[in-house]
Symmetry: C2
Subunit: 332 residues, 2 copies
């Protein structure tokens, strides 16, 4: 093998992402220099936050550069190491982007322990999405036993974990998801107490029925009209962990929120957060997640696309909510 | 004197408050029963939150009841006491509403010390507005030295105190107010570093010029378009103390916020608060405010209407932002 297939980010979307925003190329296999490692990517992670990186505007992470390999989390195998920290055959998590092979400084990689869970889990329940759920719920929103936790995009990688952790902590977990199949997955497979189908046409009433004592914690992944409806039913002294606004990322004009007054009237604490701001918490989060996983208290599903060429299509599908659980691309 | 003049709240406003929402009546002078106190009101407090109490909808405080005396804070003199806690001649703060005389259980009154400041100050800088400024800024928003604090309704009783306390704490204080006269008052008399006139037609650029390093703390009293503009310029890890939304109280449809994404991208913490939730903090707040007042570090202006019959008009004027500093009605 002497060539590396890559997906480049070639033009910025206006509104919805399209496959035209990307281009597949072949390039020579890179060689690691001193201190570097060559990794063969086994899995690509597709996550909503990556949409933000495609915009030119200010976001919390450095934007994706036009003409460069599309950014994203990866898990793979060390093929060649010029770093004392890794040896050939090690499985590592990193952010090598949409390509079959990548070279990285050792500092950008972390060895993973596949005895705890399969390698792909380090992009899901044991990786960024799982730690995001843990951190947003337990560190930011801090639910108390018996409280009602509502989470949007409940069938996604983050949302699915949030509700299950809420249940572990003795809370009532209410999901919001689009369509009956997803809601069935959320209540059936993931064990949430209830799930509201926001596409069913009775959001306010359905939310009230699912959270009859009001909402104490909102873990917000979606934004827009669904979030506006949640705001109406927040309890006094409730908390909102603002994790994402995926419904807004592909709009040229954002949805205009109407129920901000609820934050004043109910003395709500709303906090935006990014999981990478608190790297100090990752070991503890991951250890707890691994423990719950082993004890059978945490379940997760993966949606897998096969082959690098499927990455753009799978990414767009994920942004449209076509996936169940964690969306991955399998390369090997 | 055997009669008591009162202003009753007789019908709920739809949109803007009008004088028709009130009616002046005379009634017999009330008599205190055992444990009660008869107070002659010297000053009525007019505050934005009172608009919320006129709505039938859910708010943070019990609504004003139709046919009853209009609610509101008061300062007055004890005329007759059947409580061991007060004696004739004591000056007391309470919430006896829009009337010349009121009867109250001793628990609803607090003796005030007019050696620290004039009685009216206990409705302003030494009362609810001053403590609100102190609590929202120092407990909720927690500015650090050198940070930029932006406060809307900066020429009002709360806003004026916020900026001055921010300066005392070593912050850059930027006000937002409507019109040149108010901005001159805010920078001149109150000593803010800068003040943006939101009516001047260049809000975004003017705000950027006044807060060139971005906004670290927003003390929000107004909401609506002005708040939306502030959101655009919040710094990473900035804080918003959400104290009021006075621009919205008289609208039948709220302004629809567009820049919520800034809270996510910048990991902003936004918290609604009500000063009466933390009565434990009042003594410390009042002691600090009194100290700054004595040291000449805190200034305040009062806008005074004369006579009970002026209360409705002055209240409407205050909601429209016609006052400078604390709006009062002087009865005695």
């Amino acid at each position: 093998m002497t060539t590396n297939r890559q997906v480049l980010f070639v033009n910025r979307p206006r509104g919805w992402v399209s496959e035209d925003n990307f281009r597949m190329v072949e390039s020579p296999l890179p060689s690691p220099t001193q201190g570097q490692v060559l990794v063969r990517n086994h899995w690509l992670s597709l996550d909503p936050y990556m949409r933000g990186r495609m915009d030119a505007g200010k976001s919390y992470a450095k934007g994706a550069e036009l003409g460069e390999v599309m950014v994203g989390g990866t898990v793979g195998e060390v093929m060649e190491s010029k770093s004392p920290k890794f040896k050939t055959g090690d499985m590592v998590a990193g952010a090598l982007g949409w390509q079959e092979y990548g070279v990285s400084d050792a500092s950008g990689l972390a060895k993973i322990d596949t005895s705890i869970g399969p390698a792909s889990y380090y992009l899901g329940i044991l990786g960024m999405p799982g730690v995001t759920a843990w951190m947003g719920l337990l560190e930011i929103a801090q639910p108390k036993e018996g409280e009602t936790v509502v989470v949007s995009a409940a069938s996604g990688a983050v949302g699915g974990a949030v509700g299950q952790i809420a249940r572990i902590k003795g809370c009532r977990a209410v999901g919001i998801a689009g369509g009956k199949a997803k809601c069935d997955y959320v209540t059936g497979e993931l064990g949430f107490d209830d799930c509201v189908d926001y596409k069913a046409g009775g959001l306010d009433a359905d939310l009230q029925a699912a959270a009859p004592a009001g909402i104490d914690v909102c873990f917000e992944n979606v934004g827009g009209e669904v979030f506006d409806a949640v705001l109406r039913q927040m309890n006094p002294f409730s908390r909102i962990a603002l994790c994402g606004l995926v419904s807004q990322y592909n709009l040229t004009e954002p949805y205009a929120m109407k129920n901000l007054r609820s934050i004043l009237v109910n003395r709500v604490r709303m906090q935006g957060f990014i999981v990478s701001d608190r790297l100090d918490l990752w070991p503890r989060a991951r250890a707890e997640l691994a423990g719950w996983l082993k004890a059978g208290k945490l379940k997760c599903r993966e949606s897998v696309a096969h082959g690098l060429e499927q990455a753009p299509k799978a990414f767009i599908g994920m942004l449209k909510g076509e996936n169940f659980g964690k969306q991955l691309v399998k390369l090997v």
